[in-house]
């Protein structure tokens, strides 16, 4: 499939003049950004070219094993992000385990559902569909899971006295943690709710814009975007809930105790 208006290398060079303009602004205004700007631009171009080449090769291979491997590698990178963002850390690689489980679960469930029901490429795991879909879902799941995890770990450390006061009065650990669990899941899901409210009014979502530029009928592009938003909403909710419940499990025990000793010392 070729886009309606193919881009040549010269077209890209012309657009790159805008980045050079940014660099000139940095020098003229003494922003000290030009070095970083140059490095970031170069990185962006090289990374995207590399991804393009890899994807082309993977699509051509049409091997389910290779597709799965690529998706798993993406999940691993996302899990690292989820683990690294919160200020507090669960001991013994807890953040990584929680992040990886939550991200993998939410992404795979959501992507497989879309591939087997709405999109139905044949076969359903065809790399051309599976990899980009998993990628975009992953980005949102990552965001939701890391926000939720950060919120829970931060809240529990801050509210230790209140939680233990409830426990000392005979509350179950579930009751004592409930407010914080709920608030953390909420925090994780909020971005996707905002994203849905703003879609099309404040911003034209990237995927839709890309498809329209590539020559697709706007209504077709909109249908894709709506499907995608549903997937992102579902993935975010699953990712946030999974991250929070898994982390809460690690921070409590069967004797209804709050186990902050299972957080790594800062």
């Amino acid at each position: 499939m070729t886009p309606a208006i193919p881009l040549s290398a010269r077209d890209l060079v012309v657009a790159a003049v805008l980045v050079v303009l940014d660099g000139a602004l940095s020098v003229a205004l003494g922003l000290g950004l030009h070095r970083q700007l140059a490095v970031a631009t170069l990185r962006m171009v090289l990374q995207l070219l590399a991804v393009g080449l890899v994807l082309r090769a993977v699509f051509a291979l049409a091997s389910p094993a290779v597709t799965l491997l690529v998706v798993l590698a993406m999940v691993a990178v996302a899990a690292r992000e989820v683990a690294a963002r919160p200020q507090q850390r669960l001991a013994r690689f807890g953040n990584y385990l929680v992040g990886a489980t939550a991200v993998a679960l939410a992404t795979l469930l959501t992507s497989v559902l879309a591939l087997t029901t709405a999109l139905r490429p044949s076969p359903w795991y065809e790399a051309r569909y599976a990899i980009p879909l998993a990628g975009i879902v992953l980005g949102n799941v990552l965001n939701a899971a890391s926000l939720a995890l950060d919120a829970l770990l931060g809240a529990v450390v801050g509210a230790r006295a209140g939680i233990e006061a409830q426990l000392a009065l005979g509350a179950t650990i579930g009751a004592a943690m409930r407010r914080h669990v709920r608030e953390a899941v909420r925090r994780g899901m909020l971005p996707v709710v905002n994203q849905m409210s703003a879609a099309g009014v404040v911003t034209l979502p990237g995927i839709m814009t890309g498809q329209i530029l590539a020559g697709l009928d706007p209504m077709e592009a909109v249908k894709y975007q709506i499907l995608l938003m549903f997937l992102l909403a579902g993935g975010s909710g699953l990712g946030a809930v999974a991250a929070v419940l898994l982390a809460a499990r690690r921070l409590t025990d069967a004797r209804h105790r709050l186990r902050l000793d299972r957080l790594s010392p800062q």
């Binding site: 509210a159 230790r160 006295a161 005979g170 105790r257 186990r259």
Partner: protein
Amino acid sequence: MTPRLRLDGLRSALAGPFDLAVGPGECVAVTGPSGAGKSLLLRLIADLDPGEGEAFLDGAARSGVPAPAWRRRVAYVAAEPGWWAEDVAAHLPPAGPAPALAAALGLAPALLTARVARLSTGERQRMALLRTLLGDPPVLLLDEPTAALDGESVARTEALLRTRLNAGCAMLLVTHDLALADRMASRRFVMRDRRLAPA
């Protein structure tokens, strides 16, 4: 006679082992320097910190009782009480003898519906004791219950605790106040190097 509370080799990675028996109506005081492990002992008995060994309430082993049920009966009142809502009322059952207890502790009735943030340190300390006493626990683990109180409030709190002792409650009282320990307790221990020694 079966002691109300008995500790049998109770220990954690941080403190113990502790062996102790407290009879019904008895108050045992624990004194000692800050950081010696006095609060750790109370938390360990309340099962808030993981540990080994066993504790018994009226002869029944803690390990056979769900933790929330144990903590309702063997009630720990922290030196710095925790709160989980903005209003005092959210920390109390909707009905019950809270007004009578508040009066006994010298707390104005209006404080029962105030914001927690409006209470002074001493008022919070008494309010935390109040919400625990509402559950009528047979064992009280009290960590510095009068540290932030003025003389009159100390007297009122002591008098209320004494009525609980007379009703058969067993008390473990952690305090820096030797005079309070002498007034309330029949036996006193000193916490040294995270172990109990007779005073």
